[in-house]
């Protein structure tokens, strides 16, 4: 079965040359494709602190902490309900990412933290997040609770009232935590054109499929990932 160990025949060389002629544009195409599919996401394992917060969950008005989401891959995003453009765009693209994960998506929770708790009452936040599917969890903190979480991940936000209008700014990033609550990935933005749906889905698939193990096993897995 081991053919071709010897020198290439003339036909073989010609074939290869013709193949190379065809291959080169194909390679360029694949390269361009890889370029566009290359993940813009940043591995932050060990560089950002583990998930920690105390906030009120809009769905049931209960106080929750990061411990309530242990075992889930968590996507943390900061927005507000008076945000009709970028927040829905980001949440819709997150939904597109989750659809690509198939059954693994059931182990993912999207925490939508309002940066505008004054105007975002629990009922409004519940209605807004429910509009994007059951995996989206609306969280509202006191200004101290919000400031603590934002500071932890160096997220900037501001709510300014200018005349009768509000101006709100918020970080575009989505922070991803594994099932142990460790920070793993920073998605700079899912409001870009085109959004990195495929690449982010691939990144999350890796995380979600290794989300369950905890303790020494997950530590070893992480070490292994570091080596590979």
């Amino acid at each position: 079965m081991t053919r071709g160990a010897g020198p290439l025949s003339r036909r073989g060389v010609l074939g290869l040359a013709a193949g190379a002629g065809l291959l080169r544009p194909l390679c360029a195409l694949a390269q361009a494709q890889a370029q566009s599919d290359r993940s813009p996401n940043i591995d932050v394992s060990g560089n950002l602190p583990a998930l920690r917060f105390t906030m009120t969950r809009a769905a049931d008005a209960r106080q929750v902490t990061a411990a309530d989401y242990r075992g889930d891959v968590v996507l943390l995003y900061f927005g507000y309900t008076f945000c009709p453009d970028v927040c829905p765009l980001t949440l819709t693209n997150i939904d597109a990412v989750l659809k690509r994960l198939g059954p693994l998506a059931s182990g993912v929770r999207v925490l939508f933290v309002t940066v505008d708790p004054d105007r975002d009452t629990l009922p409004v936040l519940r209605e807004y997040t429910a509009a994007f599917g059951p995996q989206v969890v609306g969280l509202r903190g006191t200004s101290d609770q919000l400031a603590a979480l934002a500071r932890r991940y160096r997220v900037a936000y501001s709510v300014t009232r200018v005349g009768g209008h509000y101006e709100v700014t918020h970080g575009s990033a989505v922070y991803v935590f594994d099932g142990s609550g460790d920070a793993r990935l920073l998605v700079p933005s899912l409001a870009t054109t085109p959004p990195a749906i495929t690449a982010t889905a691939a990144d999350l698939r890796r995380l979600a499929s290794t989300a369950a193990p905890s303790g020494i096993l997950s530590h070893m897995l992480r070490l292994l990932e570091g080596i590979v």
């Binding site: 453009d85 509009a131 970080g171 933005s189």
Partner: protein, 162 residues
């Protein structure tokens, strides 16, 4: 009186001159009104839709505005009976920060187009009314700097654009 309107009578002709001036002014105004109507024909809108989230929050509007005319146009405002207020907005992304700002006008180049698309320019329908229901069509009127107006029907879609 007929035939005397345009006679250059001095003295007591003040009233006649006023009449003449009024007619000329009216004709001028008519010409001004007609020109934008002709230019508006060069403007058309593609794929207009509103993203309804929840009734108590603003709905964003998206479309592509084409200008097939030889003159540049400037979109200055929009209005709809379905919205308490309809504003021109733009989302900007800078250094990891998202910001949304009101814009006073949006240029539409001659033989060009401008896109109002998620993550960029968008209409902001404040306090959407009962007509802004998924599947419904609501009218939006665009106003341009030269006085032209263009009415377009927007289809209302859900949070994920479907």
């Amino acid at each position: 009186m007929p035939g005397t309107w345009f006679s250059p009578v001095a003295g007591r002709g003040g009233r006649r001159r006023t009449t003449l001036r009024t007619i000329l002014a009216a004709a001028g105004a008519l010409a001004v009104l007609q020109a934008p109507a002709a230019q508006a024909a060069a403007l058309h809108v593609e794929g207009p839709w509103l993203r309804l989230l929840i009734p108590s929050r603003p709905a964003a509007g998206y479309f592509v505005l084409h200008n097939d005319g030889d003159d540049a146009e400037t979109l200055v405002s929009a209005e709809s009976p379905a919205c308490a207020e309809l504003m021109l907005h733009r989302s900007t992304h800078d250094g990891g920060q998202e910001r949304m700002e009101m814009v006073q006008n949006v240029p539409v180049p001659a033989h060009g187009k401008v896109s109002f698309a998620p993550g960029g320019y968008h209409l902001m329908c404040m306090m959407p009314g009962a007509a802004v229901r998924r599947g419904n069509h609501v009218p939006v009127t665009f106003h341009f700097a030269d006085g032209a107006a263009l009415e377009v029907m927007f289809v209302v879609k859900g949070p994920n654009g479907q």
